[in-house]
């Protein structure tokens, strides 16, 4: 999925429905997805969760950016997730630029996106 996005920065947000900071940053990520629709890809990864709870969470927020469910925990292992939420910023060249463990503020999200776009 990420390989197909080469040429554009990709923000991967790993979340779980039981995580309170994940809940609070969802509207911010949705706004970022709308604002940077054509220039940045926002991708959510539900991890360490039940598919039903994750789906209910997505329905609650009416998120329109793509979200996938990490059924086998392969993504969590590959990205070495140690905290929920964790946000990974990949540059347009596909390289990991920054990892933000824990909730992300609007300032930091805007700053890392603008930085990735430069």
């Amino acid at each position: 999925m990420l390989v197909g996005q080469l040429g554009r920065p990709v923000i991967v947000n790993v979340w779980a429905s039981w995580c309170a900071p994940c809940r609070t940053e969802m509207p911010l990520l949705q706004r970022a997805a709308e604002t940077y629709a054509d220039r940045v890809v926002i991708l959510g990864v539900a991890s360490n969760d039940s598919p039903e709870a994750a789906q209910e969470f997505l329905d609650d927020f009416g998120l329109t950016y793509p979200n996938v469910f990490d059924v086998s925990s392969e993504i969590r292992t590959e990205l070495a997730v140690t905290a929920y939420p964790t946000t990974y910023v990949f540059g347009a060249d596909g390289r990991l630029q920054v990892t933000i463990a824990g909730g992300i503020s609007e300032q930091r999200l805007a700053a890392v996106i603008e930085n990735a776009l430069r």
């Binding site: 900071p21 609007e106 700053a111 603008e114 430069r118």
Partner: protein, 238 residues
């Protein structure tokens, strides 16, 4: 998960305000006081009211959830928090001869120093970002130096605290001192918000609120000073 950056910022704010109150004891208490004596409970009340306000505005379904409530990094509405803390300080004067507004005005510079120090401690958390600039600060994970708006806001707030203290010493009415303190912090916050990175267009909620508060507090200050000048003239007229 404990946010150590936030904790460090609170410690810095606490240390700076402790120093401020040690240098200039408020004259509205019978004996020397410390920050924990006068601002611990108001600060906690402000934190709770500010956090609940944020949840009410952003995610009302989460208000009853303790786990959502305690994640203060996700947002504490600034002005409701300030109002709650000020009300608590005023309430603390109920069994004394001190006027509640006088007590708030005496503590306003200390609270402003605490706020300024908290903002200036932005290096410990995510609050320093400003527009790209050829100098100063390159945040972790970013390649572009950025203007540390948080540090400038903090320094301005501490400067404003000194100014407000001078106004109090010059005999301004307590209400005018309080509204001048609010107006100056609102102005600093409004100007600082112009440079803070944000997602999407338009002004942020705090930015809009700060502009309104600045205007209201500025008008209140002017009105109170005019009333004070008028009553002084009337008293002086035989």
């Amino acid at each position: 998960m404990i946010d150590y950056g936030l904790l460090m910022s609170v410690i810095v704010a606490w240390a700076a305000s402790s120093l401020a109150i040690r240098m200039h004891q408020p004259d509205t208490y019978d004996s020397p006081v410390s920050v924990s004596d006068v601002l611990l409970i108001p600060g906690f009340a402000g934190l709770v009211v500010g956090r609940v306000s944020t949840l009410a505005l952003d995610d009302p379904r989460a208000i009853g959830s303790i786990s959502d409530l305690i994640v203060i990094r996700s947002g504490v509405e600034f002005w409701p928090a300030v109002a709650a803390a000020a009300l608590m300080v005023a309430w603390s004067a109920r069994r004394t001869d001190v006027h509640p507004v006088a007590r708030v005005s005496a503590l306003a510079p200390v609270a402003m120093v605490a706020y300024g120090a908290y903002e200036a401690a932005c290096l410990f958390r995510d609050g320093c970002y400003g527009p790209p600039t050829p100098m100063v600060l390159t945040p972790e994970g970013l390649s572009t130096p950025m203007l540390p708006v948080g540090i400038l806001v903090g320094a301005s707030a501490i400067g404003a605290a000194v100014l407000v203290r001078r106004l109090d010493e010059r005999g301004w009415p307590s209400g005018a001192v309080v509204s001048a303190a609010v107006a100056s912090i609102g102005l600093i916050s409004s100007i600082g918000s112009v440079w803070l990175p944000k997602v999407g267009g338009g002004l942020s909620r705090q930015h809009r609120t700060s502009i309104v508060i600045t205007l209201l507090a500025g008008l209140t200050t002017g009105a109170l000073l005019m009333l004070d000048a008028r009553s002084t003239t009337e008293r002086a007229t035989p």
